[in-house]
């Protein structure tokens, strides 16, 4: 029993990502074709050069045919994957492991979600027939319970914590404003953030990720083949995944101040990648900021701050683009919105741009570090799936 990882055995050699937006004029197929074309071009391959495909979508389609039809893939192994909001990351994990196993030379992960055709605001899960007793809260309400619990446990005044959360939102909008692929490209003042209408608990509109359509994709090959496709591949240092048992919802010992699944996934990823001090070793991190308290708690779950101290680090600017460890330099879910199947790969795309020095100059991180982390979660406090990847430009 072990989690060995596949450090430096597989490399990402091409990526693409659409702008995330309310794409009223684009279908799911359009988004898939746009992200895939950019990715094929990036890796300088054609669709028939890819041996196997994994397609992540939470609820925009079923089966691999949802990808095979728009790309007209003939007789390829194409599989749809779904794992809550980590769906895009799961597509990458499956493709990477397939190549690492030796089963295929070239594999592709595509994640896409067409959210804005539902006619409703927010993300709405496909109803599975049930006995009618399951919780029907919004995700915002579930995550809103984190903030007061955190404030109480660590003795932070709730008003001060509101400033901390506003700063997270402000920081991610600062970053998103500079990113041409982001949905929201405007800076937002802390006053506006704090005055926004309440959604759940003390969370306002600006504490919540937006909703958008989008797609992103990556092509992976064996590490030793990587330089045949690009001179700057990203080597996979770690892929880690943890699913909770859902017991947090019914276990009186769970206190809503952390996400055990994320801590487990991070620990495993750091072990795979040989990371001992993430705050000083990572060039950047993309984390799942679905709500501002989520990002706060993740700073501790991912080891970027000691328990009970992340709120001070947020106020100190530690995670700003110019800080000790830039977090969500692309603007995060806050600025991008959350097309569920695409988000995990969008995070990897930011690592791809930043580590290769390809972000637009005004937002390129100035660093000599070579490692990036992406973190993607799905579900709710107490009932969560968590993914962590570590990617780097230097092979073993």
């Amino acid at each position: 029993m072990a989690s060995h990882g596949i450090k430096d055995r597989v490399a990402i050699v091409g990526m693409g990502c659409t702008r995330f937006a309310e794409h009223w004029d684009k279908s799911l197929d359009d988004l898939i074709v746009d992200a895939s074309r950019e990715t094929f071009d990036s890796a300088r391959v054609g669709k028939d050069d890819v041996d196997a495909y994994w397609f992540g979508t939470a609820q925009s389609g079923m089966s691999g045919i949802t990808l095979a039809r728009p790309l007209q893939l003939q007789g390829k192994p194409v599989t749809r994957v779904e794992n809550y909001c980590t769906t895009g990351s799961e597509a990458l994990r499956a493709a990477a492991y397939a190549v690492a196993s030796g089963a295929y030379d070239v594999a592709m992960a595509v994640g896409a979600e067409k959210v804005k055709d539902s006619g409703y605001q927010g993300l709405n899960a496909f109803p599975i027939p049930g006995d009618g007793t399951a919780r029907t809260l919004t995700a915002a309400a579930m995550f809103s319970m984190v903030a007061p619990a955190y404030a109480k446990k660590y003795g932070v005044d709730e008003d001060e914590l509101a400033d901390v959360l506003a700063r997270i939102s402000w920081k991610n909008h600062q970053n998103g404003a500079r990113n041409p692929r982001a949905q929201f490209r405007k800076e937002v003042s802390k006053e506006t953030i704090c005055a926004s209408p309440r959604v759940a608990g003390r969370l306002g509109v600006f504490d919540c990720a937006g909703v958008a359509d989008g797609a992103a994709a990556a092509i992976v090959v064996r590490a030793e083949d990587a330089l045949r496709y690009t001179d700057r591949p990203l080597y996979i240092k770690a892929l880690s995944f943890a699913a909770g048992s859902g017991s947090g919802l019914i276990d009186p010992e769970y206190d809503y101040t952390w996400f055990p699944e994320c801590a487990i996934a991070a620990e495993d990823a750091y072990r795979q990648a040989g990371i001992t001090d993430p705050l000083r070793q990572l060039a950047m991190a993309e984390v799942h900021d679905c709500f501002t308290p989520t990002e706060l708690v993740l700073m501790e779950d991912l080891g970027f701050a000691a328990r009970g101290t992340a709120w001070k680090e947020v106020l100190a600017g530690t995670y700003d683009r110019s800080g000790a460890l830039p977090v969500n330099p692309d603007g995060g879910l806050k600025s991008f919105g959350h097309p569920v199947g695409a988000s995990g790969l969008r995070m990897v795309f930011e690592a791809w741009l930043q580590l290769r020095g390809e972000a637009t100059p005004e937002r390129q991180i100035d660093t000599d570090r070579t490692l990036a982390l992406t973190h993607n979660l799905g579900g709710y406090p107490g009932e969560m799936v968590a993914f962590v990847s570590v990617l780097g430009t230097e092979p073993g």
Binding site: G130, T138, A141, V199, S245, L249
Partner: protein, 481 residues
């Protein structure tokens, strides 16, 4: 000796000030208040609440299934949640009654509540007689303000060492008359009434005839009776009969119409339950009900009354209420339709899934791991602690108080009455579950608050009602004793 073994009334938490109707429309309304069922209550849930309260004194300990050899469960209402499908069977499930206990609906007429009670008193075996009603009318109508929502449950049976009768049935009488004084055709939102004088001239002699016949059967004089209440939808007739009962001064009981309102098919039982709670051993109490004729019932409180403690006295519920705005009242009664939240409506409940999970859904029964003691809500087969497979026993939390561990207020989730207040609850004796709070003002909720469980209707989709549990604050009794 035959009579009532236990009883309880259920009055919803909210009240409408009748003056608010006048203030809004310039007409209608009146003095006092009326009770209003919450948007998540119907006659089945209110009946279930009354039934839970009625059974609670009999097994104060954790109820683990089956109660005191009840043979039948009868449910009467003029506002059934379902037609065709029996509503009593949902209450049966809430109470975890064994399948051998028959569950029947008595429906349609306002008289069905008192009729079911008299049938049980005159019959054999032990019958839990539940009645509940939702009453209203068009805005400014007399029915809108005079009526109320509520329920009652009376456990009727024969005195036995394990189930003592607290109110002995001394006798009763019934008079039937076919008269179209008040009527409502199926699907109508309101009742219609004939000229008031016609009903009054009919109901007064009918009521007095039933009263005198009941006294005769019981071998009593009117002057022997300590408390009596007259109930009926016809206010003038009710008052007139009350004046002519020949009881001693001061013996006419509060019929609850000033505070609760007239609760239709439930009202005779509700007032009777209230009188039993207030009376002392040896006292004689009676009730006269006017509906399509008249019924009169007489009881004597027994020595066992002293050993019986009502779970939630009607007087406490009358005193411990909170006002509801007229706008919310009209919304909850379906008289106005505000813009719904822009979220998908809840999906239809799966009948097969609900049937499989009956104990969980209707009786809030989880499971407890025999090895670790961990409580699982809903029940599970594999333990979250230690991982034991299939080593669980059923454990109910329906009657267990809980403490709010944390909570939130959700402005977006679909609700007929936003916002939703949602709390993570830690149950006494183990077990945690996140549940919606009801009968609560969002501003007053705090971590550490104590709550009890209440059976509610979450939503309705494609005509299927989704019943489950919510939690409501445990409030200190406000009724002076």
């Amino acid at each position: 000796m035959r009579g009532i073994i236990s009883s309880a009334g259920y009055v919803p938490y909210r009240r409408l000030q009748r003056a608010d109707i006048t203030a809004f429309f310039g007409s209608g309304g009146g003095k006092g208040t009326r009770s209003v069922a919450s948007h998540d209550e119907d006659t089945t849930t209110m009946g279930a609440e009354a039934a839970r309260s009625a059974l609670r004194p009999l097994d104060a300990a954790d109820r683990t299934g089956g109660t005191e050899g009840c043979d039948s469960l009868w449910f009467a209402t003029t506002a059934p949640a379902y037609l065709d499908k029996t509503n009593a069977s949902a209450i049966h499930a809430v109470l975890r009654q064994p399948p051998e206990v028959a569950a029947y609906d008595f429906g349609g007429g306002l008289r069905s509540g008192v009729g079911a009670l008299r049938s049980a008193l005159g019959g054999t075996g032990t019958t839990l007689v539940v009645s509940a009603d939702l009453r209203g009318g068009l805005p400014t109508s007399a029915d809108e303000s005079a009526a109320g929502d509520g329920a009652a449950a009376l456990l009727v049976g024969t005195d036995a060492p394990e189930a003592r009768v607290v109110a002995e049935y001394l006798g009763g009488a019934s008079v039937t008359d076919e008269l179209v004084d008040r009527w409502r055709t199926v699907g109508d939102q309101r009742s219609r009434v004939w000229e008031e004088r016609f009903g009054e001239t009919r109901y007064v002699p009918l009521g007095l005839q039933a009263w005198r016949s009941a006294l005769k059967e019981a071998g009593l004089d009117a002057g022997d009776v300590d408390r009596v209440a007259v109930v009926g939808m016809h206010g003038r007739a009710v008052r007139s009969v009350g004046r002519n009962l020949d009881v001693r001064p001061g013996c006419l009981a509060d019929d609850l119409t000033g505070t609760v309102g007239q609760t239709g098919a439930a009202h005779a039982s509700l007032v009777l339950a209230s009188m039993i709670e207030e009376a002392a051993p040896g006292q004689l109490v009676g009730v006269v009900s006017l509906a399509d004729g008249a019924d009169a019932l007489l009881f004597r409180l027994t020595a066992a009354r002293d050993g019986w403690t009502p779970a939630d006295p009607v007087a406490d519920q009358v005193a411990g209420a909170a006002d509801l705005s007229y706008a919310r009242f009209l919304t909850w009664k379906g008289m106005v339709t505000p813009e719904p939240p822009r979220r998908p409506e809840p999906a239809r409940v799966s009948s097969s899934a609900a049937w499989r999970n009956e104990e969980w859904k209707y009786a809030f029964v989880g499971s407890q791991d025999r090895t670790s003691g961990a409580v699982h809500l809903p029940p599970a087969r594999v333990s979250m602690r230690g991982g034991a497979f299939d080593d669980m026993e059923a454990v109910s939390r329906a009657e267990t108080p809980a403490t709010i561990a944390t909570y939130t207020i959700d402005h977006l989730s679909y609700s007929l009455s936003p916002p939703i207040v949602f709390a993570v609850l830690d149950f006494d004796g183990g077990g945690r579950f996140p549940l919606e709070l009801t009968d609560v003002d969002p501003e007053t909720v705090a971590i550490g608050d104590r709550v009890s469980m209440t059976f509610r209707r979450l939503s309705t989709a494609e005509g299927i009602h989704d019943y489950f549990w919510k939690a409501k604050p445990i409030r200190p009794s406000r009724h002076p004793r």
